[in-house]
């Protein structure tokens, strides 16, 4: 492979030419699907996710009875059901994920719990909000893209939320040869990794709630990293989340301005 993350310490440029604190191009749209209650389409670099939300609707099936018992007699909060659907053509190699894939299930739970903290679920007791995420193209930061897309779709659906849930990934650059010789520490945190970097470097996914970025709602990391590096990675990640939030806000505001210009009614 001509481009390698091991070149980073020499040039301070990443394989795709970004610097350490640069996000990939984030492009998003809302109300992409006219029939759905809420929908969004989000691109973070080459990761493309489509989100459809229907609801809040009354939980179906069995007319109460058994389901009520299973979910407790009074369910004060709306349930959020997330389904992530990874298209077979999403990756570089065609790979079909079964419905019961455990990684996907874990991501579904993560997205559901993150949205659960942001949504005012108590306004919709005994109801379900169904979130379907379609992964069309995969190039790193999947969980972050899913969270951002779901937030946008939630806003499009008009579900009251405390604030945006904005997410991004942050990795750690490889050790420079000089550092091995004891010439100082040159490991940088790298923002918003793509697939190539994700495969080589340790990274974490962080999602924050609110403009200040002071409330972390998701923090997931599957690799090992020394604990001293953790702080800088997290700080960079939260900083990235703030910028993602601004971008999402911009998308919503642009859409809002257009709706008003068109004379109301989306």
């Amino acid at each position: 492979m001509p481009l390698d993350t091991s070149l980073y310490p020499l040039t301070h440029l990443r394989p795709d030419g970004r610097r350490w604190n640069e996000l990939r191009r984030l492009h998003a749209q809302i109300s992409t699907n006219t029939a759905a209650d809420g929908s969004s389409y989000l691109e973070m670099g080459n990761t493309k996710v489509l989100c459809i939300i229907s609801g809040p609707f009354e939980s179906r099936g069995g007319g109460g009875g058994r389901q009520q018992q299973r979910e407790g007699p009074q369910r004060e909060n709306a349930a959020i059901a997330v389904e992530i659907n990874q298209a077979g053509f999403a990756g570089v190699e065609r790979k079909r994920k079964g419905k019961g894939d455990r990684r996907v299930t874990e991501m579904q739970n993560t997205v559901a719990s993150a949205l659960g903290t942001a949504v005012f679920g108590h306004l919709y007791p005994h109801s379900t909000i169904s979130v379907t995420l379609h992964v069309l193209s995969l190039d790193g930061g999947l969980l972050a893209a899913c969270l951002n897309a779901a937030t946008l779709a939630m806003i499009d659906a008009g579900v009251p939320m405390k604030d945006y849930v904005s997410a991004c990934t942050c990795g750690l650059s490889p050790l420079a040869p000089s550092a091995l010789r004891g010439m100082g520490d040159t490991q940088d945190p790298l923002l918003d990794l793509n697939t190539m970097e994700e495969q080589e470097l340790p990274f974490l996914t962080v999602a924050t709630l609110g403009a200040e970025g002071d409330k972390v709602v998701v923090l997931s990391m599957e690799r090992r990293v020394t604990v001293e590096k953790m702080e800088s990675m997290l700080a960079t990640g939260i900083d990235g989340c703030k910028r993602v939030r601004d971008l999402l806000d911009q998308v919503i505001r642009e859409r809002g301005a257009r709706v008003i210009a068109d004379g109301g009614g989306a």
Binding site: T34, I52, F89, V92, E93, S130, H134, L136
Partner: protein, 350 residues
């Protein structure tokens, strides 16, 4: 799941709809003419990681996204198949005719070395949110798309590389909001497989099979959904119309280029060929209102398919009339007919 909605129309509403569709000329709820399609948005080549991709959206929110990926796969030779665990005779994917003719009787490996194709080189999978992978709707739909693609036998032929290797074409359809009716129209975006494969193939495949494939080449197949109410025929029925349809048909058509003798290809009429016809159980038979109208009994009632004066609708039972079927197919294939129009419309894409 929320996406699988049934029409919530009362028997009286259904009766009203049925009678307005039975008028001459018929009156469709959205004031379209019987052959008018709903407005749709279609785009191709939207995913960089696929060899070909397409997206089709209908105004009612039904959406289909298709990605096509080609992969090189080792060909299992017929001789190995015979000696191996499974026998060639058991699969019906006998090498395609037209090139080497029927080859089931051939013994020598060399004899099947010519370009050929097999049906299972094309793989169609459909993903619907909230549906199991082995759900009957999903399986039948995938089968139908597959059938339409391989029916004329030219597509697998294009996937031939050489004796040992071939392209395996994976077609993944991912359906948004799969309302029952429109699933069939999701077959529409499948025409890009052709440009995609021919692009991929021509680069590396030996020149030997290019003349053959271009000689036999036809346009990508299109599946049309047609419904009938009484004597009237409707193209691209909406969900409400399907709810009262007497019969629903999915017809896969393609156009073959005119023979070279007929002059300028643009002006010569293209011949439209029917590749596959499937009847689809109209939802009327499955809907709750129909079973309510039947009193829950499968063999009940003498008057059916008609509004019985009092505005109470009963779904039709029995097959469709031959005359109606003939008229449907004629509308599809005749020059200047609906099939012609649709295929011409798609030319702007390719």
């Amino acid at each position: 799941m929320p996406t699988q909605q049934t029409t919530l129309l009362s028997p009286t509403e259904l009766a009203y709809l049925h009678s307005s569709l039975s008028l001459n000329p018929p009156l469709r709820p959205d004031a379209r003419s019987p052959t008018t399609f709903r407005p749709l948005i279609a785009e191709t080549d939207l995913l960089p990681s696929t060899n070909g991709s397409a997206r089709v959206c209908f105004a009612d929110g039904t959406e289909g996204i298709v990605g096509v990926k080609a992969d090189i796969q080792k060909t299992v030779l017929a001789s190995t198949q015979r000696n191996g665990t499974f026998k060639a005779g058991e699969n019906d994917d006998v090498s395609m005719g037209g090139v080497g003719g029927p080859q089931s009787g051939l013994k020598d490996e060399e004899d099947i070395a010519g370009p050929h194709g097999e049906h299972n080189w094309v793989d169609v999978t459909i993903d619907m949110p909230g549906q199991r992978d082995d759900d009957s709707t999903v399986v039948i739909l995938a089968q139908m798309i597959h059938e339409g693609l391989v029916a004329d036998g030219t597509l697998p032929l294009k996937l031939y590389i050489n004796r040992r290797w071939h392209w395996k074409l994976y077609i993944d359809v991912s359906d948004e909001d799969p309302l029952f009716n429109d699933d069939w129209d999701a077959a529409l975006p499948l025409y890009p497989p052709y440009p995609a494969t021919s692009k991929g193939k021509n680069k590396e495949a030996p020149a030997t099979n290019i003349p053959q494939s271009s000689a036999a080449s036809s346009k990508a197949p299109i599946t049309l959904l047609i419904a009938s109410v009484g004597e009237n025929i409707f193209f691209d029925p909406s969900r409400e119309e399907l709810a009262v349809a007497d019969a629903v048909l999915a017809v896969t058509i393609t156009s073959t280029p005119p023979p070279p003798s007929s002059g300028i290809p643009d002006q010569a009429p293209t011949t439209i060929k029917i590749l596959a016809i499937r009847t689809i159980d109209p939802p009327a038979r499955l809907s709750t209102s129909s079973s309510a109208a039947l009193g829950g009994e499968p063999g009940f009632g003498a008057e059916e398919g008609k509004d019985v004066g009092d505005g109470w609708w009963k779904p039709v039972r029995g097959g469709m009339k031959r005359k109606v079927l003939g008229k449907m197919l004629e509308m599809c294939v005749k020059p200047g007919g609906v099939g012609d129009e649709v295929l011409r419309g798609l030319e702007s894409f390719v």
